[in-house]
Assembly symmetry: C2
Homo-oligomer: 257 residues x 2
DNA sequence: CGGACCTTTGAGACGTGTCAAGGCTGGTGG
DNA sequence: CCACCAGCCTTGACACGTCTCAAAGGTCCG
């Protein structure tokens, strides 16, 4: 609960949001104003036993049989894949309020893993329960659909990042996206420091670059767009020039307001 | 109807598959054996007015309001995005039997376009009708879910291609994947030429490389894995060494048999 | 206080992009 | 039926950005 001088909170001791502030509800609400029953259903979905894990721990591993869906309550996680020779690709980044894989249980085996990027709190929702909620709440079901379509859109944008954008554009775009998504769930405010647990190696494995190069890019990003980076913290001082550098257009995130 | 000496068929004159051979049904069947009612429903979905278009024409453009889903009957199409300065990224390739965007109509606007890579035949299914079919056929609904989860998995694999694999591995992997998918819908057989309408520029825009480099890579691919390429046609003579070059593992395609 | 993990910095190699010219091929129109 | 043209592919030379490898410094946690 205490906050350190630099605005960070000590590791592993950040409090879990109360139900009233659930990031999940904030996020679905950004798609369409939820009715009271839908909101209540969303709250109930998240109101269950909290699990926790440390940075680097897998929530699910490649080859596992997927039985349920994870909802991130607090902290960051990622979806990733490892090639035979050890190369790692980060396929998605999850922040509080994000849902991992609506409906994966249709598949036989996971083709990738999900692990914690920071100390993490999450809940697990079983297939059956998920289906009951959707059947009983068409509006919630639609909101969950929307969330999964947005994830797919982000996935596509990441391909554009890796394949078309210059490294400088790509890193700026990634920061823009995360900053935007954090704002939606009220975890970032203009000009203030944000909790940003990606290491340079994580960013490298996200964009397909090398860690030393990320180090140099972050220095340039600071010079050209006043992005102050240090381990676990980031401040965006000049959002306009950052967006300009990235060629960022938030339409692909499909937020209506 | 005629077939040219090299195994290709003349452009724009390839016959449309009869219902009995529907690639769409073949594909869903590869997930789980469909019951007769589910199979009949799938056939009915595809049995409607055939639309056609030429290479380069858009079926849907970025910014359009998505109202319906497209099912590819014959020919290839792609999903793509264009950046402000003209760079193009191909985000997905559709072959016969593929469905574009189950449930997109939840979103307000398309964030990308879909266009034909070759002369194309497709059908359009409206939201309402799609929902009716799913409500009435849980097994079909589940199969469509599976298809959309597989598309998402392919999307992730393409990020690995662009970000982690060497250009040689990436192009080999792309060929492996398309060859595999074509086999599922019975459009390719071992050692025989396949219809392959991607130009070198298309491949470049898929993998994030340049067209001259694709030219050189295809020559190396021919040398190392006996992949015979020429415009609109490709023959895989040595699938094993191709897979080896690519580090290809088909698990991510989630075919059960 | 010690150690693991993360970041910074440097020098050199190499792969891929860029630019450009020329050749081929299939489809179109005369 | 032939000629032409647009689109597509091949090839070459050169530049440059990013990777590789490596060593050292910093910081947080136990």
């Amino acid at each position: 609960h205490s906050v350190m001088a630099d605005g960070r909170k000590p590791f592993g001791r950040r409090e879990v949001p109360t139900l009233a502030l659930l990031h999940f509800v904030e996020k679905l609400n950004a798609f369409a104003a939820l009715t009271d029953t839908a909101r209540q259903a969303a709250v109930t979905l998240a109101d269950r036993h909290h699990r926790t894990c440390h940075r680097g721990e897998d929530l699910i591993s490649e080859g596992d049989k997927p039985r349920n869906v994870q909802l991130i309550i607090d902290g960051w996680a990622c979806r990733y894949k490892i090639l035979e020779d050890g190369r790692r690709q980060i396929l998605a980044i999850f922040i509080p309020g994000d849902l991992c894989d609506l409906n994966v249980y249709i598949l036989d085996r996971m083709d990738h893993s999900i692990s914690a990027i920071s100390p993490l709190t999450y809940v697990t929702i079983e297939q059956q329960e998920m289906e009951q909620f959707c059947d009983g709440n068409p509006q919630l079901a639609r909101a969950l659909w929307w969330e999964s379509l947005v994830s797919a859109s982000i996935q596509r944008e990441w391909l554009v990042n890796a394949a078309q954008r210059t490294p400088m554009e790509a890193i700026a775009h990634l920061v823009c996206e995360l900053y935007f998504r954090l704002r939606v769930v009220k975890l970032a405010r203009k000009g203030e420091p944000i909790f940003f647990p990606l290491t340079q190696t994580d960013i490298a494995d996200t964009l397909g670059l090398t860690q030393p190069h990320i180090s140099r890019l972050l220095q340039m990003l600071n010079k050209h767009a006043k992005v102050a980076w240090r381990p676990r913290q980031l401040i965006v001082h000049d959002e306009d020039s950052l967006r300009h550098l990235a060629g960022f257009n938030p339409d692909y995130l499909h937020f209506r307001r």
